[in-house]
């Protein structure tokens, strides 16, 4: 359903939702970070984009998988630790971040459902905020099959029309939230719909960066595995891992045991984020490392996102949020790299 919500009524709607845990972007110094909101007045949707995408709510940096402790018969007692019941709402999700979750859904779902991921995913209701202007000068969502007002992955999409929001509910969960405060929502008029269309068209024009002829890139990449191209491009990479940690689609993880005490035995098995950009990501226990240098790791990141994922899931593993470009300490620009790939050898 499509409704209009006056901005001054917005805090009242949030108040009706207080039985849920509410996450929203909050300002921390110069940055925006998703935090739990305790007062409905604290939500400020006047923001650009967060440093870490809402992926960190669904797939946290550190997650306990199971706990083990000593038992009387000498064998360790193992207790599964699933995410707790926590019906949540995430406000202010940008369309690129929401689309990214549909991509990680395919990885954590499909043949095998990751219990931990899905428990959190299913209990989080995502309320998106369309981008009237690009949050970052490095946004390029249009090039990767997304848009500033894409509805993919969202339960509700809100668009800022000035003094009111255009609220589109896209799923049953979204409808439920709107119904909790029926009186606050109005029916949209023709002018509202016209304003919405204009904003949507304008927002697309404002995106400055693009990857031209992106369809040429996956087949081109296939032939570039052994190319010296990667050595040149990776010269300045300092293998810090920021690009992958901030990326809303990246999902590699490591599992390790944290032993609190060895006798009596007590510990946890935790899952943490990992990144293909660390030198030891592919270290084998024999000491062999198939990706020992920066060139092979940069190649891995680009090919995983723009060739392997395309072959497997028919989607680019990138939604154009631009975080990797803005935050790379040495200015490695994924758009520039892809442009060079497309034109390589010509």
């Amino acid at each position: 359903m499509e409704k209009i919500l006056r901005k001054k009524s917005f805090p009242q709607w949030v108040k009706k939702l207080e039985s849920y845990t509410i996450y929203a972007p909050t300002k921390n110094g110069d940055l925006w970070i998703y935090e739990v909101i305790n007062h409905s007045e604290d939500i400020n949707l006047d923001y650009l984009n967060t440093v870490l995408s809402p992926k960190k709510i669904i797939f946290p940096q550190r997650e306990i998988l199971l706990e083990f402790s000593a038992s009387d018969d000498g064998n360790p007692e193992i207790k599964e630790v699933l995410p707790e019941e926590n019906p949540s709402i995430v406000f202010g999700v940008r369309p690129c971040d929401a689309k990214a979750l549909t991509l990680t859904d395919q990885v954590f779902g499909g043949d095998f459902d990751d219990l931990y991921y899905w428990k959190r995913r299913n209990q989080a209701i995502l309320i998106g905020l369309a981008c009237n202007t690009p949050p970052s000068p490095n946004c390029f969502c249009l090039s990767v099959n997304s848009s500033p007002h894409s509805k993919e992955g969202l339960d509700i999409l809100m668009t800022d029309l000035g003094d009111r929001y255009y609220v589109e509910s896209l799923t049953e969960k979204g409808n439920k939230l709107l119904n909790l405060a029926k009186k606050l929502f109005e029916e949209p008029k023709a002018k509202d719909k016209k304003d919405l269309e204009k904003i949507q068209l304008d927002s697309e024009k404002k995106i400055e960066r693009q990857i031209k002829e992106i369809k040429k890139i996956p087949p081109k990449l296939k032939g570039m595995f052994d190319s010296p191209f990667w050595d040149e491009e990776a010269m300045s990479c300092i293998r810090c891992g920021i690009c992958t940690y901030l990326c809303p689609t990246c999902h590699c993880f490591d599992i390790s045991d944290e032993v609190l005490s060895s006798s009596p035995l007590e510990g946890k098995r935790v899952r943490t984020w990992d990144t293909c950009q660390f030198p030891d990501f592919t270290m084998h226990s024999s000491g062999h490392n198939p990706r020992p240098d920066k060139a092979s790791r940069l190649r891995q990141r680009i090919m995983h996102k723009f060739q392997y994922f395309v072959e497997r899931y028919k989607n680019f593993q990138c939604t154009g949020c631009g975080r990797c470009i803005s935050k790379c300490p040495v200015g490695i620009d994924i758009i520039e790299v892809l442009d060079k790939v497309r034109d390589y050898g010509t």
Partner: protein, 343 residues
């Protein structure tokens, strides 16, 4: 004023005469104001080099990468690498020389002086410009910067947008160089450790609250470590899986490797990681500020290292990164070292 043309000429000469393998400098990037590291191999490419207040990076990191690359090559090219350094960066080169990590003949130092100013802090600039996009920034007069924004030229006093560490600068021109461009303008700040003193003046509980809030944000991406030229250990004590393994390493050895710090970003693990890193950098950190610049969560990690730089000076009269012949801070001692804290 440093002449960019002179820098390019020097670079060109070095490459034409084959005196260096390649030159590490700064060049314009494809997005935004900040430059990116440039690796110039051919004399005609020197045109790409730039030098302006946006050149904030410490390129010394790439000397470490170069050494690693040489180690893997069977017949390495033994010519030196040319590198463009500012005053602070040159101190990093001195520390690498001090520790015999690189030899003097491995590096050809193209020093540039910051003269009266320094490099710009992107965030301070953005605040000053209030939404206007900066396309270019140049040195101007003795202590101003000129910013070009959409063909509008805006002149700002440098002091207002200099990086924090430039306000505490202890080396405004390279302390070691093969070629030096620009004038050697001495600048001795009145309070070289002001940012540290600000934290020290807080009460114990306030200090704890400050550091807890900051370090709880840490996602352990290790960017601070990756960008630091001094963090060159093959096997960092934090990465418990990265110890050198060969076919001969016994299973028992692998199993008994001590795990000092867990991988996950728990509050106390984050503290221990940052504190250990600061202590390992005592007497080695020269405050290039890269760790803080690289941190995606804006954690002021530079302050931990700066604190120890202050203590090195105050307790042991040790100046970091000025003399390549000096022994390192923690493997030297004086009879007069203070021991009033010892029972």
């Amino acid at each position: 004023m440093v002449s960019l043309e002179e820098l390019k000429k020097e670079a060109q000469m070095l490459l034409e005469e084959g005196k260096v393998k390649y030159i590490v400098g700064y060049e314009r990037s494809t997005n935004g104001l900040m430059p990116v590291p440039a690796f110039i191999k051919n004399p005609e490419d020197v045109e790409r080099l730039v030098w302006d207040p946006s050149c904030i990076y410490n390129l010394t990191r790439f000397l470490v990468d170069e050494k690693r690359r040489k180690e893997k090559e069977k017949k390495p090219d033994t010519r030196p690498v040319g590198i463009v350094v500012k005053g602070c960066d040159s101190r990093a080169v001195v520390v690498l020389l001090q520790e015999k990590f690189i030899n003097r003949e491995d590096v050809f130092i193209l020093g540039v002086s910051c003269e009266n100013t320094g490099v710009v802090d992107e965030k301070k600039l953005a605040e000053k410009l209030k939404g206007k996009k900066a396309d270019k920034i140049e040195f101007s007069d003795k202590d101003h910067f000129v910013i070009t924004s959409n063909s509008e030229k805006i002149k700002i006093p440098a002091q207002e947008i200099l990086a924090e560490r430039c306000l505490e600068c202890r080396a405004s021109f390279p302390v070691i160089s093969d070629v030096l461009l620009g004038e050697k303008v001495e600048r001795r700040p009145d309070e070289p450790f002001k940012s540290v003193q600000k934290i020290e003046s807080l009460s114990k509980e306030e200090r704890w609250a400050f550091w807890k809030e900051q370090l709880d944000k840490c996602i352990r991406c290790y960017a601070c470590r990756s960008v630091c030229p001094m963090c060159y250990c093959d096997e960092c004590v934090v990465d418990t899986i990265s110890f050198a393994v060969t076919a001969d390493t016994a299973a028992e050895e692998k199993a008994q490797k001590i795990k000092w710090i867990e991988k996950s970003p728990d509050s106390s693990e984050n503290f221990v990681y940052h504190l250990v890193r600061a202590i390992h950098l005592a007497g080695r950190c020269i405050d290039c500020g890269e760790c803080e610049r690289a941190c995606p969560l804006d954690i002021p990690v530079r302050l931990l290292n700066k604190k120890l730089e202050k203590e090195a000076k105050e307790l042991f009269d040790y100046d970091v990164g000025f003399d390549p012949e000096k022994p390192s801070l923690v493997s030297s001692f004086k009879d007069e070292d203070p021991e009033d804290f010892i029972r």
